[in-house]
């Protein structure tokens, strides 16, 4: 049982709120909230996957959104060919993203620093232009998906509430998976690499194979996120893997808190809600987002989660606050 700090209580409240959101949506008749939060939950899954390699492994991938596209197109292309069964689609999503991550990782992880950033970016942009050029699947215009992934009754992804809970279940499972991973021997190696890779090799770890494994796991989780995103939008286009989308994922991770398990979820909520609220005021909402992000990077290195941790220390839970 984790200690009862301000931060932990808030995390628990947040997770419960996510579980209860459809109830609110039904009672208040706020259908838009459900749509928005379905999208938030899906993007949170992508951010959690990026955090595994960026936050815990120190691998600054600038092409992570490519797996959103791989997952989305695996669903879209199969649906386009008349294969609607999720039992076929989703394993294909997992396999395709794993394979893609294996190839990108095998090549890019031989470099580090700026080169690693540039190579991951280059691979993602390459995929973007390749999919934009496939006329059969809509090219630049994207591909409409006429039927969502089919599973057995009573599971029906076209039902918005059910779909939300499917997304949320996968997100929670991914968070638990990452939590177990980073605390295992494998996770210790990953954190050692982030901290001091030269020393890791000197002490006897063949670091490359561990990094590559993490890279593939992160790719698969993000691929699943892409499959969900395509299902929600009933549409997939190359723009989901454009480099700015990879940037959005990095912002979510940094904003929420790198290297904490639930930080990216907070980051995804913060960024997407902010986008929603601010774009109501002005078209140029990023003018407000920019300085906000700057403040976080300058004054709260641990992101939102780090800030909450600091508040917990300032106001211990034993005293009423």
């Amino acid at each position: 049982m984790p200690p009862l700090t301000f931060r932990n209580v808030l995390v628990a409240v947040l997770l419960i709120a996510l579980v209860l959101l459809p109830v609110y949506s039904h009672l208040a008749g706020d259908r838009f909230a459900l749509t928005l939060f379905t999208r938030i939950v899906i993007m949170a899954l992508a951010a959690v996957s990026l955090n595994l390699i960026l936050g815990f492994g120190g691998m600054m991938s600038f092409g992570h959104a490519v797996y959103l596209g791989i997952g989305g197109y695996a669903v879209g292309a199969l649906a386009n060919e008349g294969v609607y069964s999720g039992f076929v689609q989703w394993p294909v999503v997992i396999l395709a993203s794993a394979l893609f991550a294996l190839v990108i990782g095998a090549l890019s992880l031989r470099t580090r620093g700026v080169y690693f950033i540039m190579i991951t970016l280059a691979f993602a942009q390459m995929a973007y232009y390749i999919f934009a050029g496939i006329a059969r699947y809509g090219g630049d215009d994207g591909l409409t998906i006429y039927k969502r992934s089919q599973f057995v009754d009573p599971l029906n992804l076209s039902n918005k509430t059910q779909f939300y809970y499917v997304c949320l279940t996968i997100l929670f499972a991914a968070i638990y998976l990452v939590y177990r991973l980073i605390n295992s021997r494998f996770g210790m190696v990953l954190q050692g690499v982030r901290s001091n890779e030269v020393r890791m090799r000197a002490v006897g770890f063949p670091t490359y194979r561990y990094k590559l494994t993490a890279f593939v796991i992160a790719g698969v989780l993000c691929g699943l996120s892409g499959a969900l995103l395509a299902n929600q939008a009933d549409f997939v286009s190359p723009s989901v893997m454009y480099w700015t989308r990879s940037g959005d994922l990095i912002i979510m991770v940094v904003l929420g808190g790198m290297g904490t398990v639930v930080g990216p979820v907070m980051g995804a909520i913060a960024l997407l809600v902010l986008e929603e609220v601010l774009s109501g005021f002005t078209e140029y909402w990023q003018i407000i987002l920019g300085p906000l992000l700057l403040l976080v990077v300058l004054f709260a290195r641990g992101g939102i989660d780090g800030l909450l941790g600091m508040l917990s220390e300032r106001f211990p839970a034993r005293r009423p606050s």
Binding site: R185, V203, Y210
Partner: protein, 253 residues
Amino acid sequence: MSSPLLEVSHLAKRFGGIVATDDVSFAIPQGELHALIGPNGAGKTTLIAQLSGSLFADSGAIQFAGADITRLPMQKRSHIGLARSFQITSLFLDLSVLDNVALAVQAHAGHSFSFWRPARSDAALREPALAALARVGLIDRADRLTAALSHGEHRLLELAMALAGKPRLLLLDEPMAGLGPEESARMVGMLRALKRDFTILLVEHDMEAVFALADRISVLVYGRIIASGSPDDIRANGQVREAYLGDAEVAHA
């Protein structure tokens, strides 16, 4: 007598026109604390690098525990029991002190493709790590963040990490570097205790420590070993005095 644990024969390494290691031969029997001294630029670090495997020699051979390891890469040397501590402190600063040592234990505990069981409550990793920390006197710092420790404590942690792999030979590269007098004394006491259980090759600038600890000393000048013997022999050696030690320093030691 059994064959020595480490035997270096006719080792040579040159960088362009500079001969960094010039026909170096020496042997360290099991249980000895052998010190390697020499003025700056004598090639001590290059020699250590060749022993630990981060550099390969141009010619010559290195035998460890009866096996030829001349071409064995660094990671593999660490696995057969050659542990190196670093001259420049190189730790996992954002992990806890115990995590640092536990990682060193883990490196010698088979592969780490274990994805589910929590490593931080794994007794097979934590107990040897705690034992190594106790050995260097850092047990009360186990849960501290490594970055929060003093320089002296970092040196001790380096030592604990080297010990954690249960090495057969410890290569200690200037463990005293940057330590104050009090911390140096503590380190000397530590090494004296370790000497009972480990074979050690010590590279060190601190003459007082070297003469107090070493069973035998080799003196490296311009990549060449000019003398090798007991501390008394070295102290009495006129060539060594001339080449390296100030007379006063030898008399003092």
